[in-house]
């Protein structure tokens, strides 16, 4: 296979799954031309006058959509680990003897492990989306027939819009829908909050199926999935397992070490002046991020400041900031707990805001680049601040990219991470898999010190002499290795098992088969 060194110095193939690909050219360097991809023209004459698109089963809907070999089937991940719909699609396809499908989810979860048998029997050729846990292991061991393609949430929308991925059938689980296919996520027994990740799917797929367990009278309002894009509606007993869709309550970390990191992060944000009146911010749902949100709230309160804007995934902690008057608005792409679901339904300043606009490379502007504070994680960071979020130091693919790459465009990208996890150091000479270029990562905060990217001279200047434990990544790495020892490197074969796309659709790195 022909390979080339891309602009990040990584050796990548020029062809993946039989299609030619563009190697990474540098940040903001790839500017495609032409028009966006468009699906077939539908005509309302082909749809029932009474607006009732309900068919008897998912099988019938798939049949009517012309399910056949080699199609690309998309799903969204708003039901998270409680998703009962995705596996069902491939059970039906397998029973019908359909082969070589491409599954194009916005993310996968441990509940999708049963799909391995459909990868084994040839029903599914490959997955283009995130690879979590068991699926990742399967891919790393070289067992998947096609090559996996990992994209960020924004990269997924980019791939749909520029025609890199053509969705044949979008199967969209919807907690509430009417018979026309207008659907929303805020109510119903499987409520998941918003449905933002489904937007590109219903707009660009050739055929769209809405699957619901809560059919209501027309109109379902406010709808996030618009019925005029929908071909069929299927009613099933259950689309999801509620307690696995939304955690009853998200909790801040109890780990003293992580609380220390959170405390240090809040202190850094305050002393650097990044945290200020009118700040805009995004923090995830991990225990450390939640603790940071709580500490930030305290600082805002003490100073009489307000955040003008928080970008979700939201949790009760962000909702509390909104309700306590410490935050003016929450824009939300996904909600993580019940308090956040309730809030987005009832609070007019808590607004669903799809990734379509926030993360997408082909949008005319990007919300994340307007964020002052961006709190992110990583499995590895190398001495040049390059980040890895998909593989572990042992070389196994275990996570998806999520919105991580898109969020790197924020003004201040802060990575609070423990220096080592159960003897596994986080700071390495060179990341196993490159997911984000170091020039976009500003600060790494560990329990043993803070490393600021030398490119951020302004930040270095602003925190000088303020009592923060500033270190270089090299010093932190040395300290970790003194404690843990120097790890061996994982051994790989030449075979490429997964491609890592940058936000613009170019290939920034690949994952190779574990030896």
């Amino acid at each position: 296979m022909k390979t080339v060194k891309n602009a990040a110095g990584r050796t990548v193939p020029l062809e993946i799954n039989g299609q030619s690909v563009i190697p990474f050219k540098g940040i903001g360097k790839h500017i495609p031309e032409g028009r966006k991809y468009s699906p077939f023209i539908p005509s309302c004459a082909n749809f029932p006058d009474d607006g009732n698109k309900v068919v008897s089963s998912l099988e019938e809907a798939l049949q009517k959509c012309g399910l056949r070999d080699g199609m690309t089937i998309s799903t969204h991940h708003h039901l998270r680990d409680g998703d009962l719909v995705s596996n069902k699609i491939f059970e039906i396809a397998s029973a019908k003897g359909v082969k070589n499908l491409i599954w194009f989810p916005s993310a996968s979860f441990p509940c999708h492990e049963p799909l391995i048998k459909f990868l084994d029997d040839g029903t599914i050729n490959r997955i283009e989306g995130s690879m979590n846990g068991p699926l990742g292991r399967y891919v790393s061991e070289g067992k998947m027939k096609g090559t996996a393609v990992l994209r960020s949430h924004g990269g997924r929308v980019q791939a749909i819009q520029d025609g890199e991925v053509k969705i044949d059938i979008a199967v969209l689980a919807a907690p509430t829908s009417d018979s026309f296919g207008n659907a929303k996520g805020t109510s119903g027994p499987s409520a998941c909050g918003v449905l933002g990740y489904a937007k590109a799917d219903f707009m660009y797929a050739d055929k769209v199926i809405v699957v619901t367990d809560n059919l209501i009278d027309l109109p379902c309002f406010p709808m996030e999935i618009e019925g005029n894009y929908v071909d069929y509606v299927v009613v099933v007993d259950k689309i999801g397992i509620p307690e696995k869709i939304i955690s009853g309550t998200t909790q801040i970390t109890k780990s003293p070490d992580r609380l220390l990191i959170a405390d240090l992060t809040a202190s850094f944000l305050e002393k650097s002046g990044i945290l200020k009146d009118g700040v805009s911010m995004q923090a995830g749902a991990g225990g450390t991020s939640l603790a940071i949100a709580v500490f930030i709230s305290e600082i805002l309160k003490n100073k009489g400041w307000k955040s003008k804007l928080g970008f979700g995934g939201s949790t009760k902690y962000m909702v509390k900031m909104l309700e306590d008057g410490l935050m003016n608005f929450i824009l939300d792409a996904q909600v993580f707990d019940l308090d956040a679901v309730k809030s987005i339904e009832n609070n007019k300043n808590h607004v669903p805001y799809s990734v379509f606009n926030a993360y997408n490379y082909h949008s005319k502007g990007n919300l994340t680049s307007m964020m002052d504070i961006m709190i992110l994680g990583a499995t590895e960071i190398d001495l040049n601040f390059n980040g890895n979020v998909v593989t572990h130091s042992d070389g196994y693919l275990l996570h998806g990219i999520g919105g991580w790459q898109n969020c790197l465009h924020a003004r201040n990208v802060i990575l609070p991470i423990p220096l080592f996890r159960d003897r596994i150091p986080v700071i390495v000479d060179e990341v196993t898999t490159l997911c984000g270029p170091g020039e976009m990562i500003d600060v790494v905060i560990t329990e043993r010190g803070i490393a600021i990217n030398p490119l951020r001279k302004d930040l270095i200047e602003r925190v000088k002499g303020k009592g923060l434990p500033l270190r270089t990544l090299q010093e932190l790495k040395d300290e970790a290795e003194l404690i843990c020892g120097v790890p061996q490197k994982p051994q790989f074969e030449d075979e490429v098992v997964a491609a890592i796309k940058w936000v613009d659709g170019t290939v920034i790195d690949v994952v190779r088969k574990i030896k």
């Binding site: 070490d257 220390l260 070389g395 159960d422 003897r423 596994i424 020892g485 994982p490």
Partner: protein, 404 residues
């Protein structure tokens, strides 16, 4: 006759940074190592070579070793290996990991001991980052937090931890066991730069003298001249009755603590949140300590989740005269530090008193007055102590007089 198979350490889904090692001595066939580890692809080779090195050190040529590893650091693996070996063969040899040069510091008799963090002596996962939480002292506990069957292996782990973990300046403390086992414990800790030894369930000055004698003999043997301070813990009615004698029994004693769980059990009463049942005991201990010129230290507060109650307890403790408290979780540390440190009003008041004193001295006045109130010398001395403390805790600039 010793057995031919032994086991040491911990494994299981919740165990982190530890390993379980099973060793079976064989008569031939060399060393066979079965390693199950979540970090095998990163450290597998080094774990195997370390294992061979340790076994070779003890002269073991033929054995079957099963290691179930959850990310244990080398010093932990070494302690677990030494422990299984010593269950099977008699040897005086010790496999010592390098002693970090960062761990060579000594401490002062009068340093603050507001917060001291208890760490179970056989749980390495809790030790590794313990120095990061700014406790005044770290206690590696060989006593009540270690299961009876695990006490021998804990000694080796604590010994290795003292050599290998950087506690970032926290006072390095070990709580030994009671009685004869406690005296034996000292052999495993004293040669490795312990700053302070906690002696549990003290009832008599003789308990202290025995420990002191043993420490002296070990120091002599290893030619050590660092200070090893002592902190007796009073945990019974008899101990309390003898508390002044105990507090005064050795010049190495720098503090005396009360252990209320055992104390209330000894009295056959329930320990309550407001602690009325132990008020007399605590006050008596404080007076014994003050009379002996050492620090009185309060019992641990055992409900980690109840931070509000801890806050009230600290406030009361400080008002009674205690100068510190044990912590069983790092999250208690900031609250306890905060609670025992002088607050803003106290600092302001003390500044006024000290300034008035300086002014009187300059003017050659015999009496110090603040407004219309006369101030006695002990009040000035106490104010000076508060100021020193505030400066030491970065709550007051050392040049504060100039700023006034």
């Amino acid at each position: 006759m010793k057995n031919s198979a032994a086991i040491s350490g911990n494994s299981g889904p919740k165990v982190r940074s530890d390993c379980e090692i099973a060793l079976e001595l064989k008569s031939d066939g060399g060393i066979f190592i079965d390693l199950i580890s979540k970090v095998k692809s990163l450290y597998g080779d080094s774990i195997v070579s370390l294992t061979k090195e340790v076994l070779d050190f003890f002269g073991i040529k033929h054995a079957f070793v099963k290691i179930t590893d959850s990310g244990a650091l080398p010093f932990v693996i070494e302690a677990r290996l030494e422990s299984v070996v010593k269950q099977l063969i008699s040897t005086q040899q010790e496999y010592l990991p390098p002693h970090l040069k960062e761990n060579n510091y000594s401490t002062e008799r009068h340093r603050f001991r507001f917060s001291r963090l208890y760490l179970p002596g056989n749980t390495p996962g809790l030790m590794i980052n313990s120095g990061l939480h700014s406790a005044d002292g770290i206690i590696l506990d060989l006593e009540d937090s270690v299961a009876p069957g695990k006490k021998d292996e804990a000694r080796l782990l604590v010994r290795n931890a003292l050599r290998q973990i950087n506690f970032y300046g926290a006072e390095r403390m070990v709580r030994i066991n009671q009685g004869k086992r406690g005296l034996e414990d000292l052999h495993f800790v004293i040669p490795h730069n312990v700053n302070l030894v906690l002696i549990p369930k003290c009832e008599d000055a003789e308990d202290i003298l025995q420990v002191e004698k043993m420490i002296e003999s070990i120091k002599m043997k290893f030619n050590l001249n660092n200070d090893v301070f002592l902190m007796p813990i009073i945990e019974s009615a008899l101990g309390l009755e003898n508390s002044f004698k105990i507090a005064n029994s050795s010049k190495s004693i720098v503090a005396i603590a009360i252990g209320l769980e055992d104390f209330t059990a000894d009295l056959g009463i329930q320990r309550t949140i407001d602690g009325k049942e132990s008020l007399y005991a605590r006050q008596r201990l404080i007076i014994a300590a003050k009379a002996a010129g050492i620090q009185p230290i309060d019992s641990v507060f055992s409900d980690v989740a109840d931070m509000e109650a801890l806050k009230l307890t600290v406030k009361e403790s400080k008002s009674l005269g205690f100068e510190g408290m044990g912590c069983i979780h790092p999250r208690q540390i900031p609250l306890i530090r905060e609670g025992f440190a002088p607050d803003a009003t106290e600092i302001e008041k003390s500044k006024k008193i000290v300034l008035a004193f300086e002014e009187a001295k300059q003017k050659g006045f015999g009496v110090v007055a603040l407004g219309s109130k006369m101030i006695d010398p002990p009040v000035v001395a106490r104010a000076q102590r508060v100021i020193d403390l505030a400066v030491c805790l970065n709550r007051l600039s050392p040049d504060w007089v100039k700023d006034e």
